[in-house]
């Protein structure tokens, strides 16, 4: 079983990102679960969502918050100033963060692998969201898929067509661009 935690801000699409990634794994025949840790949603406030992907041929029935994720998707790198975001991440796990800077510049503990992608710029290139609030969820997923190989890019693009109601074409392009442009950090 692979457990994933998504950290974003209200309006960035973290909840849809978790459902879309689960959909991609589901389309490839895996049993999955996706759920948001809802507070009372507000734009800009921190948001957490979870996804679980079962081993092939297995199913899942655990229903609890994910405290020790295998990987993290961080839709806004400024959230990393809160140490709780990295809490419980398993050693060797990927932190895939939306940042224009290099993985090393984030100063994340060397036990983890770090990838960065300028998802905000990619989203804006494709007209997703506004300059004040780009919708970065599909871009971050493209980067995540490249770093981890948890699902294929093809399944991700199919999942975006399923889950993203507007600008499906632009969202697929954003995922593909991020898949190409993500910078994978070299383990220290």
């Amino acid at each position: 079983m692979i457990e994933l935690r998504f950290h974003g801000r209200g309006g960035q699409g973290a909840v849809v990102a978790s459902k879309t990634l689960a959909q991609a794994a589901f389309l490839s025949g895996r049993y999955v679960q996706s759920y948001p840790d809802y507070g009372v949603e507000r734009r800009g406030a921190p948001v957490v969502a979870f996804a679980r992907i079962a081993e092939e041929g297995d199913d899942l029935f655990v229903r609890q918050d994910i405290r020790e994720p295998h990987h993290l998707l961080v839709l806004d790198a400024t959230l990393l100033t809160n140490p709780a975001v990295l809490a419980g991440l398993q050693p060797g796990g990927w932190v895939v963060a939306n940042s224009p800077d290099s993985p090393a510049s984030l100063g994340i503990d060397g036990r983890f692998r770090v990838a960065t992608v300028d998802a905000s710029r990619i989203a804006l290139d494709h007209g997703l969201g506004s300059a004040a609030q780009p919708v970065v969820n599909t871009a971050i997923l493209g980067a995540f898929v490249r770093a981890t190989g948890v699902v294929t890019l093809r399944d991700l693009l199919a999942a975006i067509r399923h889950e993203v109601p507007v600008k499906a074409e632009e969202n697929q392009l954003a995922a593909s661009d991020a898949h190409e442009q993500v910078v994978l950090g070299v383990p220290v």
């Binding site: 996706s34 759920y35 029935f61 655990v62």
Partner: protein, 399 residues
């Protein structure tokens, strides 16, 4: 062909109402249920669901509209949660007394104040005695299927039914769902044919004054119908398996055969109990799970039979009845009372207001169950700063 989709519990409930061919839907939005009626209003507006969607200004009116529509002979559905269900209370009684098989999904949410939108079953269990059948879904699949199963029985006994689903843990969790083939659901659930229906061509009076000569018998018949619902739930649950591929029953056992210890649970937290039972079995502890699927009618005889001779029973209550115990535990103790081989029942109150009830939480409960001698009335699990145990007498403990 049945379709396999990735959907949330809320959307599964909307599919359940659609597959049941609900003809009138009246609802008022409330978190975390809103997604159900949003989707149903979309399905109705697009013509995918041939139903009348009545918007109202409150849950009381929503149930009043359901009562009216059902009295006119329509298959009727609504959904609500927490405070909304509480506001419906008067009309919930009306649906029972008028013998109307309305089906309702309640996304169980903690009662305010403190204001909370998270899982807690005290809302639905506060409606224990109104005379609605009550089923508790554990999965997204059941959030859909139990609506169909409910209509099948409700329309035979002329009583309404509510399906409970835990807030967020189920309502907002997306997982694989088999959406049944419409023709198969139609074969399972025939068109609603009420004995009496409002008809302008044949005017009659309903719900009028009943004097002391008649009311008692009306109530007796409600009790009798609910009793019959118990048998029909079993039969309709088996038939569900034959026609739609998934067999349901008022109680579900898991690894019970040689179990000395049994954990009784209802709703979504049961999934974690399954995992805990597996983990404990790997450590050599003979423990099993008994899931309460139907709460009303309460499966008294089956529960007595299944629990007889066990060493100890832990009931998990994501609810509480102040002044007594958790509500499920009170019911289980009552069902077992007088049975010569009844085990002692330990009541564990857990997860109020959506607090995470983890697999390890349940393993801690199991350790406590094995070692504890006095069951007390209720044992609280996970109150900050306190070990598992009964309430402390010192008022300052939580200051």
């Amino acid at each position: 062909m049945p379709e396999r989709l990735l959907l949330t519990g809320n959307h599964a409930a909307a599919y359940g109402a659609m597959l049941s061919r609900a003809e009138v839907i009246s609802a008022y939005p409330i978190t975390p249920q809103t997604m159900i009626v949003e989707l149903l209003s979309e399905l109705t507006a697009s013509g995918k669901l041939d139903a009348t969607f009545i918007t109202v200004e409150s849950e009381h009116s929503a149930m009043a509209a359901c009562v009216g529509a059902s009295a006119a002979g329509a298959r009727t559905y609504t959904a609500t949660s927490g405070q909304g269900l509480a506001l419906m209370h008067e009309m919930l009684h009306w649906a029972v007394g008028a013998r109307l098989p309305v089906v309702l999904t309640n996304v169980s949410r903690a009662m305010a104040p403190g204001w909370s939108i998270w899982a807690d079953q005290t809302d639905i269990l506060s409606q224990r005695d109104v005379g609605w059948m009550m089923l508790f879904a554990e999965s997204v699949q059941e959030a859909q299927d139990f609506i169909i199963w409910s209509y099948r029985v409700a329309e035979q006994v002329h009583l309404p039914a509510m399906v409970g689903m835990d807030a967020f843990i189920l309502s907002h969790t997306a997982e694989p769902l088999i959406v049944h083939d419409q023709s198969a659901v139609d074969a399972y659930l025939p068109k609603f044919e009420p004995i009496y229906a409002l008809d302008p061509e044949d005017p009659r009076a309903y719900g009028g004054l009943v004097n002391r000569d008649h009311y008692f018998e009306l109530r007796y018949k409600i009790f009798e119908a609910m009793d019959r619902a118990g048998e029909l739930l079993v039969a309709a649950g088996e038939e569900f398996g034959e026609v739609l591929g998934r067999r349901y029953a008022p109680l579900e056992g898991y690894l019970l055969d040689d179990a000395e210890y049994v954990i009784v649970s209802a709703g979504a937290l049961t999934s974690n109990v399954r995992q805990a039972v597996r983990d404990a079995r790997a450590r050599g502890i003979k423990v099993g799970l008994l899931r309460l699927v139907a709460f009303r009618p309460f499966p008294v005889a089956a529960m007595r039979r299944i629990l007889a001779g066990r060493r100890k029973v832990a009931v998990l209550d994501r609810n509480m009845g102040p002044g007594h115990s958790g509500i499920f535990a009170a019911e289980v103790r009552s069902a077992l009372f007088g049975s010569s081989s009844a085990p002692e029942v330990f009541d564990y109150v857990v997860g109020l207001g959506g607090r995470d009830v983890r697999v390890e939480t349940i393993l801690e409960v199991l350790d406590d169950l094995i070692t504890r001698d006095d069951p007390e009335m209720a044992l609280f699990v996970g109150v900050k700063g306190l070990p598992i145990g009964p309430i402390r007498k010192e008022a300052e403990v939580l200051r």
